[in-house]
Symmetry: D2
Subunit: 135 residues, 4 copies
Amino acid sequence: MPTKAEIQTFLLREFPQTTVLVDEAGDGWARVRQPVGEEHLRPGGTVSGPTLMAVADVAAYVAVLAAIGIVPLAVTTNLNINFLNKPAAGRAIIGEAALLKLGKRLAVIDVRLYSEGEPAPVAQASVTYSIPPAR
Amino acid sequence: MPTKAEIQTFLLREFPQTTVLVDEAGDGWARVRQPVGEEHLRPGGTVSGPTLMAVADVAAYVAVLAAIGIVPLAVTTNLNINFLNKPAAGRAIIGEAALLKLGKRLAVIDVRLYSEGEPAPVAQASVTYSIPPAR
Amino acid sequence: MPTKAEIQTFLLREFPQTTVLVDEAGDGWARVRQPVGEEHLRPGGTVSGPTLMAVADVAAYVAVLAAIGIVPLAVTTNLNINFLNKPAAGRAIIGEAALLKLGKRLAVIDVRLYSEGEPAPVAQASVTYSIPPAR
Amino acid sequence: MPTKAEIQTFLLREFPQTTVLVDEAGDGWARVRQPVGEEHLRPGGTVSGPTLMAVADVAAYVAVLAAIGIVPLAVTTNLNINFLNKPAAGRAIIGEAALLKLGKRLAVIDVRLYSEGEPAPVAQASVTYSIPPAR
């Protein structure tokens, strides 16, 4: 299975725009970190919804890669996100992803997003990835 | 009800990073356009999932604003998106949003995303907005 | 492609408990009808949420069957439903399903549910079916 | 806060058709049990999707009631369910619900469904309830 560094390298190749960092990635589990800059904020000082959705998608992808190896053609087929609490402006967004199912064709991942250091999640997402048949 | 230009101005204030343009906005309906640049692409030449999710969120927001007026505190509470077909790299993403329900507390919006000029949708989303009590 | 009667027969074999009727089924589209009895009602005279979810699932299934033929092993993988308006107690629930995507592995269906004769939908659902590889 | 027995009594009044039993209900958490009979089965011996959706909805409702008290007018506004593994025919369905958020207007609940005694979940759902303003 790929190391954290291999996943990070691959992630930057697949999503050249992302600034998400792979904190940890194990068997069926991943934690990522989105440092928050001006480009992620909304007036009033909160992190934008699209930023949260992007982190959820990447966190789920990292958990899949950690479980099945570096697979370029895995694609998101469904993402459902509940926005729960307003994220703090001055804190990184932490994404924790856990595989609920890893089938031959589909993986389903539960993601919780947090403002770093805060106990209550800012969002919960479930994400479905389609896994290419050839692997 | 606000004009298209008023919604565009408000949108840029609320989402300073967005490059989404308001094409049309009427009673319970909106169409927006995301010009696609390098920052939206993935290797192989397709538009990234996070770009699509951001367009869906903004399209829904514009449909809500067009129906209830400029309301700064409306917030997304849930977004569910199905990715259907790979978007073309060289075409803008068009988001068409239609209100399914406009209640006192919640609005539910159906969004279809297209690569401009293509008939088959690239994604379908349903989005729930919470409407502030004070309006 | 199967006739309406063939789909109805198959439906009763696969879901022996269902009382849903196949009204129409064409290429990528279906309409079903759930007659409403005491077993579907909640106090105060409205149709229960589980009844609506069951109709959405069946409507989507009928649209898939109408498009790919009688395939016993198609299974629902995801269902997302938004409850929009309180259904009337004395009216059948009508489910209208339209295929958004029919791929080799997945079908995605948009479903609108109505109280018969009422213009505003009582619920909207999107449903994903996994299609068996052998077909 | 209501006892388990009070919730069970209320549940039978609100959903007269349900055969779901309240196993446990605490602060922000609930476990329910659906005994499985012929009426819940599909050919081949598995529990039907509509049965699972109904259990998810009830489990979420019980978790809300346990947290806010007996509130007749709480209504489901959104339910998203991922079907993960085929449930066993001969085992009860267990629903475990945990509140992700309890706001003034909305509650969001994560639900995991199991075939009793099996470690892998058969489904995961997230459910949003609208809480009446008057409480």
